[in-house]
Amino acid sequence: MSKQRKAVALISGGLDSMLAAKIVMEQGVHVEGINFFTGFCVEGHTHAIRAQDNAKPNRNNALWVAEQLGIKLHIVDVIQEYKKVLINPKHGYGTHMNPCLDCKIFMVNKAKQWIVENDFDFIITGEVIGQRPMSQTKSKMPIVAKQSGADDLLLRPMCAKNLPATKPELEGWVDREKLHDITGRSRKPQIEMAKQFGIDDYSQPAGGCCFLTDKYYSAKLVDLWKAQGDKDYELDDIMLLKVGRHIRPKPNFKLIVAREEGEGRFLQGYKKEFISMHCSSHPGPLTLIDGEMSAEDLYFAARVVARYAQGRDEDQVDITITQKDGSERIIQVKPFSKAEVLNEWHV
């Protein structure tokens, strides 16, 4: 009796990785999923923070995909290790701060370590040649296989027929003839394949599954690094970049202004790490102050905070300033006018 072969599939929560896993499962291979949490994953976060997004399904798509496929999913925290990928990517950044090729190499490398530790035979990804300009081109596919150390243990069932045969194919663990030759950015072949498998509900995020491909998020990250003078970050830093309006009126401080109730509640959790402000004479959002400030800066920031409160047209409003130790004081300020809050302050 031949040995039951085992593969781990990189599951992002999108359709391609779901199909790739399904194709291999159909060939009798035992498949389990693996999902890496870098801290920049779009999955879950913003809808969890923003009250107004509550209408959207509050589900983690990677978990959902695993459940639909009937496989285990291992979610791995790679936040700390991922820093070196983002801070110094060997292959550079994409259009924004997305180090896609280095990221793919990193994740496949982690999966390679995982299969060695867990006695699995090979790795599956949902990559499609030509799907992504930076990491999923025909010339980049061998780079990922080689530099990750996975080499011929990396199988891409969606486009395998356009690539040299891998060990799972050569050894007969999977039938190459039953793999596919999809190329390009069209989603039609995947949608057709999903239909054939009876899959009618799947996630297809327009901007991919990573905040680093987002222009506005990337701008905030660059601003953070510039302000602190180095490219380091902690999880809280990158979480806060997803929340609120970020306004930097001066190089030494930034305001994070909640845009709605859910964000305000989320920012409440940071009141011991940041000085915070809110308008106490009129309804207004909670604002965190990030940076070192003079008394003059504090007054200046309070006028910005007042601009976002309902008393913005009053001559004077009360702003409560809460220190990290919880002590409070109230100052009276004249809210800035719309024209006084300059566009270039918005990060």
Binding site: A48, I49, N58, N60, E67, I71, L73, I75, V76, R265
Partner: protein
């Protein structure tokens, strides 16, 4: 037979999938039949932790919410 234990995991302020990851890591240290109470502030856990339990063979015993907190009690399944 080893007596089942009950532990509590504080996952407040963590956003999904971190509460799931912390649950996954904690469950690795527990034995079959042990119970884990997970206290969270991200409403997404009400979907994600039960989903994680279903695919990994653990049982959700109870879910509660109130005052912007979400509490899930699970029983560790066969390992």
């Amino acid at each position: 037979m080893q007596e089942a234990i009950r532990e509590t995991l504080n996952a407040r302020r963590l956003l999904c999938p971190l509460p799931v990851i912390r649950t996954q890591d904690k469950v690795k240290q527990l034995n079959t039949g042990d119970q884990l109470e997970i206290i969270c502030t991200d409403p997404g856990v009400m979907h994600d932790i039960p989903a994680w339990c279903r695919i990994n063979g653990h049982k959700v015993l109870e879910t509660n919410s109130g005052n912007h907190e979400y509490i899930i009690i699970i029983e560790v399944g066969a390992k």
